[in-house]
Amino acid sequence: MTTTVPRSSTGTGRGILARMTYWDRTALAVAAFVVLPLVAIVGFAATAADGGLLAYPARQVLASSAGETLVLATGVLVLALVIGVCSGWLIATYRFPGRDILAWALILPFAIPTYIAAYAYVDMMDYFGPVQSAYRALMGYQMRREYTFPEMRSPGGAIVVTALVLYPYIYIASRAAFTLQGANLMDAARNLGCSRMEALRRVVLPVVAPMLVAGATLVLLETLNDIGASQYLGVNTLTVAIYTTWLGKGNLAGAAQIALTVLAAVVGLLWLERSLRNNPRFTLGSRNYRPVTPPDLTGWRGMGALALVTLPVVLGFVMPVATLIRAGWRQFLIDGIEREMLQALGNTVMVASLATVAILMLATLLAFARRFTKLAQTRAAVRISGIGYAVPGTVLVIGLLPALGQFDRLLNDGMIAMGWTRIGLVLSGSIIAIVVAYTIRFLAIGLDQVDTGLSSLSRNTDFAAFTLGCPEHRLASHILAPALRPVLAGAAVLIFVDCLKELPATLLLRPLNFETLATQLYGHAARGGFEDGAMAALLIVAAGLLPLILMNRMMERR
C-alpha cells in the first residue's frame, strides 16, 4: 500500500504525480472508467464510411429525429413546468382539505417509468379501452370515424404521457422553493402594493425560477433517455434513431454519430444548467427565512385547489396503475404466474444487486477521495465520475459495447497466443456488460448520497484522528465508513430501483435468453401484447414506490 503523502507538503516544485495519494489515483481511475466509453463514441463515429451522417439520407434521419426530439422535449418540459409549479405553489402556500396527503401523493408518478406509462395509456385510451368505450356509449357513436378523440400514439400523446410521470421533478423543487421564499416575498410585494397575481408574476416566479433549473434539466434528460415510450407511441426521437440505425441498418458508425449529437446536446444542457444556477439574479439570505402559516382556503376555493392538485395524481398514477392492475389480474386468471416472469425477476434482482454493490463501493471511494484530497484535479475527477446520469442509456451502450468487445477480442487473442483455449466474450457477452452500464449510469446517485452523508460528519473527527496518528485509510474504514451505514442503506434502495427500471441499455446489452422485467415487458409490448407483461409492470411500479417512501422521509426531516 502506498504511504500517505504528508498533508502539509504541497510544495509547488513537485510534479502532480508525486503529489497524488492513493485517493487521487482511485478517483482518476474511476473517472477514466466512466469517460472512456464516451470517448470511444467519438472513435466509432470517425470510422463512418461514405460521408456518414452528412450524406443523404442519413442527414435527413438526423434532421427529422432531432426535430421530433425537440418537439417532444419542449412539450414535456412546458407541461411538466405547468403541472409542477402550479401544484408546488398550491401545496406550499395554502392550506386546504386533503393538502397533507396530496403533498406526498403528488410524487407518486415517479414510481412509473415512462415506458410503462405509455403502455398503460394506450391500453386505457384506445378504441377498445374503458375511456373511449364509455365516450361512445355516452354519445351513441359506433365507429371510430364518427368522432374525434385524442390519439395517444402521436407526438402530443407522448408529450402528455411523459410529462405526467416526470412533473414530480419540478413539483419537488418548486414546493421547496415556494416554501422557503414564497411567503416572505409575497408579503413584501403585497405591502408594496402589488396584487396577488402581480406579486407572483413580478417577484416570486423570477426568484423561484433559478431553483427549478435542476429539476427541469432532469426532466429533459429523462425524456432524452427514454426509448420505450417514444418507440411505442410512434415518435422517432434521436434515441430511437440510434437504435434503428445500429440494429436495423447495421450501421454502428452512423449510430455513433447520432449518439455523439445527443451527447453534445447533453453537454450543452449541463453547461446551460450550471450557468443558470450559478447566476441567480436575486438571492435571499436563509436568515431571512420566516416560516409562515399558510392561509386557509375554504369553501369552493378549497375544493378547487384540492381538485387541481388531485388531477396530476389521478392522471399520472391512479389511472395507469388501475389499468395495470386490471390487465395484470386478467393475465393472472389466464396464465397464473408464469415461470418466465419469475426468471426475469430473478435476473433483474441479480444485475441490479451487483450494480448496486459496485456503485456503493465506487461512490464511497470517490467521496473519501474528495474529502481527503488537496488537488483540484481530483475534485474535478469526482465530479466527472457522475456524468453518466446525464448520458442516455442508448448512447452509453454505443460506446460501451464495442469497447468491451475490443477488450474481449484482445483477451481471447492473448489467451490463444499463450496456448490456452479461448474463453469467449467475458465482458461484452455476459451480464457484466449490463452491470458496467448501470454502474456508469447511476454512479451519480450513489455519489450524491454518500457525499452528502460524509460531509455531515464533522471534519474535527478527521483532525482528531490525524493528531492521534491514525492514517487516512484507517480513519475511512474504521470511523467514517461505519457512520455512513444508514446513508449507504438509503442509497442502495435508490440505486437498486433505478437499475430495476432501466430499459434502454439493458435492451441492447442483455445476453441471449436473458430478460429483465423491463426488457420482458418491452418484448411483450413490441409484439402487441402488453397485457402479457402487466404483472412485470406492476412489480416494477411497486418497487418504484420504495424510494418514494424514503424520499418522503428525507424531505420531512428537512
Binding site: R144, R145, R153, K249, I334
Partner: protein, 220 residues
C-alpha cells in the same frame, strides 16, 4: 415460415384476392394501417419489393402505400387488427401467426381477430412474401457437430409440427398438417425470389423508408 399478408375488414372489404402492387393504388386511399416502416418485418417486405420491381419502381410503390395510410405507422401487428376492428382503417399488413395468436388469446384480442379476414397477397406474376426462422452457424463455431444436430432437428417433422401447432406458422416441409385456422387462409405460395436477393436489399429498403419519410404518415 411466417407470411406477411393482408388483414382486411370482413364487413368493409369484399374482395378475396389482392397483389402487393395493388396496395399503392388509389382504391385504398386513407384505408391502410401498418406498423413502423423500420420494423424488421416491413423492411424485409420492402426489400422484396425492391428485388422484384427495382429501386425506382419500389420507391414509387412505397410512396403510394404511404399516401394510402389511414394513420401514422405505429404499434405492432396486432394493432393492425385492432385498428381495423375499430374502423380506423380497412386493410393492413401483418404476419399470419399473429392472427392465430389473437384468435386463441383473451376475449379482447379474439374480437379483433374476428373482425378481420386474411387475404394471402401475391406479387403480380409471383407469390407471397414470407419471413423465415433461419438457422446460421458461425464459421468458427466450436460445437459444429451439436449445432448440426440442432439444425437437423429444427427441420424435422416433429419440430416443424411444433411451429405449425404452437405458433400458427407454415412449416418449411410439405406433408406437415397446418393448424385448421391457418389452412383456412387458402394455399400459401411463397414467392420464388431467393432470400439472399431479398437480404441484399435490406439496407436499401431501410434507407428508402427514411428517404420518403414513410414513418411520418400520410399527408406529410
Amino acid at each position: 415460415m411466417r407470411a406477411r399478408v393482408v388483414y382486411a375488414s370482413k364487413s368493409r372489404v369484399k374482395q378475396e384476392s389482392i397483389t402487393y402492387e395493388d396496395l399503392a393504388g388509389p382504391a385504398w386511399k386513407g384505408r391502410i394501417c401498418i406498423r413502423d416502416g423500420q420494423n424488421a418485418y416491413n423492411t424485409a417486405l420492402f426489400a422484396h419489393v425492391i428485388a422484384r420491381l427495382g429501386t425506382e419502381k419500389a420507391e414509387g410503390w412505397l410512396k403510394g402505400v404511404k399516401a394510402n395510410l389511414a394513420k401514422k405507422p405505429s404499434g405492432g401487428d396486432r394493432d393492425v387488427a385492432k385498428d381495423i376492428a375499430s374502423g380506423q382503417c380497412d386493410i393492413g399488413l401483418a404476419n399470419t401467426y399473429y392472427f392465430g395468436l389473437m384468435s386463441k388469446g383473451g376475449s379482447d384480442q379474439k374480437a379483433w381477430a374476428d373482425s378481420v379476414k386474411i387475404i394471402l397477397p401475391t406479387f403480380t406474376d409471383g407469390g407471397t412474401h414470407v419471413n423465415v426462422s433461419g438457422f446460421a452457424m458461425a464459421k468458427h463455431a466450436p460445437n459444429r457437430a451439436n449445432a448440426q444436430k440442432l439444425a437437423e432437428w429444427l427441420v424435422s417433422d416433429a419440430a416443424q409440427a411444433l411451429y405449425a401447432r404452437q405458433n400458427y406458422e407454415h412449416p418449411v416441409r410439405s406433408g406437415i398438417p397446418l393448424d385448421p385456422l391457418v389452412s383456412g387462409f387458402g394455399e400459401l405460395k411463397p414467392d420464388s425470389t431467393p432470400l439472399t436477393e431479398i437480404a441484399k436489399n435490406r439496407k436499401a429498403a431501410s434507407d428508402l423508408v427514411d428517404k420518403i419519410g414513410f414513418n411520418a404518415g400520410p399527408g406529410s
